[in-house]
Amino acid sequence: MLRLEARQKTPAWLNLTLPLVAIAVTLILCSGLILMAGAGVLDAYGVMFKASLGDSYAITETLVRAAPMIFTGLAVTLAFRAKFWNIGAEGQLLAGAMASCFVGAIPMPGPLAMLLMAVAGAAAGAAVALIPALLRVRLKVDDVVSSLLLNSVVFYILMALIEGPWKDPFSGYPISPPIEDSANLPVLIEGTRLHLGVLVAVLAAPLVWLLMARTVLGFRIRVTGENPEAARYGGIDVQRVIVVAALLSGALAGLAGVGEVGGVHFQVMSDISPGYGYSGIVIAMLARLNPLGVVPVAIFLAAVMTGAEAMSRATGVPAFLSDVIQGTALLAMLVALLFTAYRVRRSA
């Protein structure tokens, strides 16, 4: 008989290999779908890889796509570390997008506009995340459901704005007017869409890591998440830490929206986020809640999304394969995580 036995400690090599194993399992499982679509597995994955990481332009496109996912991945990582279950990164991203679009439409010098857009977007995201955090610490309301439901609330606020007072009079579609040209985030490499926000996203990861690993606040967040009783006993104001973690998490998710408005779309529309907030959960889990791991995982998922469209054109496999890969990767990773807590033993 085989049985599961609780581990005392997780070996270091497992931490690194588990995400790779989960991704490998995912790609193997999803190859069944490629075969169903009548294409060659290596063909399809090959096109996907080439179109997303095969040349320098493709790499910049993948990085542009990865930027919001790095932010939401970091947002979820930080929140989950404090065991504040923020499922609301999607809504916080939308709030950040709206706030930055509002600020970006005001004429002012470019650098000031960009700075204020970032501040406004982060503040808006933080404000949305504050609601479930306060409800939890003050009234013991479950944060999973309240943060999830707020996604829909923020989405409908966005819809009401772009179909109402914000509707661009020059366009028949429900989209906001564009932000000022001077507020567009500068492009880093001529001829690509690689904008300043991507660099900020990549730099944000080590900053969040530093915060978590090397500061008192980070220590408090980790202890609060791992053992709230001990934290309380050690004189940490657990409720305060949860609120601070929620604010930081919401701000990071809000910045994802800022980057999309300032660097990619330059306006707000209903489909400005194809679920980047939910992708953040996938990324955070695959990264094992390590901020440094968020960047490669986000780039991987972004590559899958960017490559899927080219794969669809070349092989006829529907591009929705990328959505299946995201979901499967999350589930595979969750199962893989069992092996960090348990090991399989032969019992007598």
């Binding site: 779908l33 169903m36 679509a37 279950w85 499922i87 609601i131 409800l135 009234l139 013991k140 309301v141 479950d142 999973v144 459901v145 309240s146 999830l148 439901l149 707020l150 996604n151 829909s152 609330v153 989405f155 409908y156 606020i157 819809m159 009401a160 179909e163 109402g164 679920g275 939910y278 959960i281 996938v282 889990m285 529907p318 929705f320 394969l321 990328s322 959505d323 299946v324 890969i325 995201q326 979901g327 499967t328 999350l330 589930l331 969750l334 199962v335 995580l337 069992l338």
Partner: protein, 314 residues
């Protein structure tokens, strides 16, 4: 105001409430069973979508709507089983698994739909269910044509509410479900298998979510589109909380939201949209969050919700 009232007291309006409320009632009852057993199922949004896809495809190719309905129920149950495998058998965190199931199931639904039907300028449609008038009852003025001249699935939803209440409150299995949702440790001591009871409840819930998906593609839209579910699963999550995890109240909440939604559609159609329609659609979410704040002191939620049960851990 009188123009508003004029819109409300019409057979068509009452019928619209019933039709909008039906899929919500199925989905809400499904989520309720799952949560009463202690398992939050955030997979609902994706499960409804995949079941809708399966139902539509089944009906399209078999030519029988009921085969479509069965396909949707089967897929709903299967996805419920998947969620239960992760959260109940393996004891993984419910909210993260639920998001995983939703991402997986909705991705799969879109993928398979595109694979089967390709990219068509006009999406394929089916001839949906016809209303089946109930003799005598459908002759009652106003109420008759609105409530008793409906699809069979509507009657099933109406019957599902008392049946769900009976199962939950009056059967041994229902008692087990409530026990494993409130105090799994005690249930285990009393000889109730926590794992199998929870598993069954989540699968039952999944099949009800499947019925909700079936209604959308076979009675409401008669086609599968990418926005066919569009947040109705999240609405159901809210309604379960708003309905305090009770079948009657949850179904009532579904009806209430259906009323708001139908009203919003009417006002828009009548050109009376001073208030943006999004304000109405936002209502169930806002009201639920407010309700959660008020309810928190009375602890009405199942106590073991979101808590995995591992027998060997104390």
């Amino acid at each position: 105001m009188s123009a508003v009232l004029e819109q409300v007291f019409q057979v068509g309006f009452l019928a619209a409430i019933i039709r909008i409320g039906t899929p919500l009632a199925f989905a809400t009852l499904g989520e309720m069973f799952s949560e009463r057993a202690g398992v939050l199922n955030l997979g609902i949004e994706g499960i409804m979508l995949l079941a809708a896809m399966a139902g539509f495809t089944g009906a399209y190719f078999s030519g029988s709507l009921w085969i479509g309905v069965l396909a949707a129920i089967a897929v709903g149950a299967l996805m419920g089983a998947l969620h239960a495998l992760f959260t109940v058998v393996l004891g993984l965190s419910q909210h993260v698994c639920g998001i995983g199931v939703t991402l997986f199931a909705s991705g799969l639904a879109y993928f398979l739909y595109r694979l089967v039907f390709g990219q068509q300028s006009v999406p394929p449609s089916i001839k949906g269910f016809e209303p089946v008038p109930i003799p005598v009852l459908s002759d009652i003025p106003i109420l008759g044509p609105a409530v008793f001249n409906q699809f069979t699935l509507v009657y099933m939803a109406i019957l599902a509410v008392p049946i769900a209440a009976f199962i939950l409150y009056r059967t041994p299995w229902g008692l087990s479900v409530r026990m494993v949702g409130e105090n799994p440790r005690a249930a285990d001591s009393a000889g109730v298998s926590v794992v199998s009871t929870r598993f069954q409840a989540v699968v039952l819930g999944g099949s009800l979510m499947g019925l909700a998906g079936a209604f959308l593609v076979m009675a409401q839209f008669n086609a599968f589109t990418f926005g066919v579910v569009s947040g109705r699963g999240w609405v159901a999550i809210a309604l379960v909380v708003f309905g305090r995890w009770d079948p009657w109240r949850s179904a009532g909440a579904a009806l209430l939201f259906a009323f708001v939604d139908a009203l919003q559609l009417r006002l828009q159609a009548a050109g009376l949209g001073h208030i943006p329609y999004e304000a109405f659609l936002m209502l169930p979410f806002v009201l639920t969050i407010v309700a959660m704040a008020f309810m928190s002191r009375n602890a009405v939620a199942p106590s073991a919700l979101l808590k995995p049960f591992r027998r060997e851990e104390r």
